[in-house]
């Protein structure tokens, strides 16, 4: 078994209203110096050792992310 982590974030050109709301909340919390927050999704997959990288890429590309609006990165732990 291996753990594979897929992180999905909105593409830079796509507006992230949730990230903006977090920046606003940080300001109200008294935190200074945070100029931008981009919210994303973090997936932890437990996979058999014989699951290859291209299979994980397919999972990330077809289901975990929407390539129209999101980018993803894959890392094996």
């Amino acid at each position: 078994m291996a753990r594979v982590v897929v992180d999905v974030v909105l593409k830079p050109e796509i507006l992230d209203p949730q990230g903006q709301a977090i920046v606003g909340a940080l300001g109200r919390l008294g935190v200074e110096g945070v100029t931008s927050v981009r919210q994303g999704k973090h997936f932890e997959l437990e996979v058999d050792d014989n699951v290859q990288d291209d299979a994980v890429a397919k999972i990330a590309d077809t289901l975990l992310s929407n390539p129209v609006i999101e980018n993803y990165t894959i890392s094996r732990k």
Binding site: P17, L63, V68
Partner: protein, 225 residues
């Protein structure tokens, strides 16, 4: 009498209203179930509004892989008229039957209002009861209704007349170029964020401006007014 399928996913909300709109338009509403791949020989399919699969992952992302959608995607590619309303629009984009995606409203709030629209393409099977440029008012209610696509896709939609309906009186959700609804290249697949199925009866709707979507596919010709 045309048979119009209305899909129910877990979390669909507006399937009943869509079926009712179909019946009012004079067609037969055929209930379709997400787990059943059989389309029961319908002539067209409506994907209704709501929160299919709880909007888990992304709106429409799980519904795209349901058994019924396998059949709907195949039928749509063969030319069957398919209409996606709100969550149904999101499902169509996730299915890649329509380009672009729907993202959270730019102002972060759920919007619920009567929305004025302009029909920019009255040549689809769903909009042929209207005339090009006709203005209608139907309810709009969404949290993730911002239509986005890259510039090249947006230009292609504009040039080829694939923007079907456009928002008037201000942009309610951050949709690029005020786009409220689009169609595929062939024109048989239409998706829109506003809810024409909620505007088919004077008693309970904002009016009856939405009825045209259902009359068109039911084969009822309206005199252009």
């Amino acid at each position: 009498m045309p048979r119009i399928g209305v899909v129910t996913f877990p979390g669909s909300l507006d399937d009943r209203d869509a079926a009712r709109a179909v019946r009012i338009a004079g067609a037969e509403a055929v209930p379709l179930w997400h787990a059943d791949p059989w389309l029961y020989e319908v002539d067209a399919v409506i994907l209704p509004g709501g929160f299919s699969y709880g909007d888990y992952l992304r709106c429409g992302a799980i519904a795209r892989f349901s058994p019924v959608m396998e059949s709907v995607i195949g039928a749509a590619r063969d030319g069957m008229p398919v209409l996606g309303i709100c969550n149904g629009f999101q499902v169509l984009c996730e299915s890649h039957l329509l380009p672009g995606a729907l993202v959270r409203n730019d102002h972060r709030k759920f919007v619920c209002k009567e929305q004025r629209l302009r029909v920019d393409n009255a040549n689809t099977p769903w909009t042929s009861a209207y005339r090009d440029g006709q203005e209608i008012v139907v309810p709009l209610k969404n949290g993730e209704g911002g239509f986005v696509a890259d510039q090249r896709t947006l230009d292609e939609l504009e040039v080829n007349g694939r923007v079907v309906v456009r928002y008037l009186d201000g942009n309610p959700n951050g949709s690029y170029r005020d786009i409220a609804g689009i169609c595929n290249e062939a024109g048989n697949v239409v998706g829109l964020m506003p809810h024409p199925e909620h505007a088919v009866e004077a008693l309970t709707g904002s009016g009856t401006d939405g009825l045209g979507f259902f009359l068109a596919v039911a084969g009822v010709e309206l005199a252009a007014s």
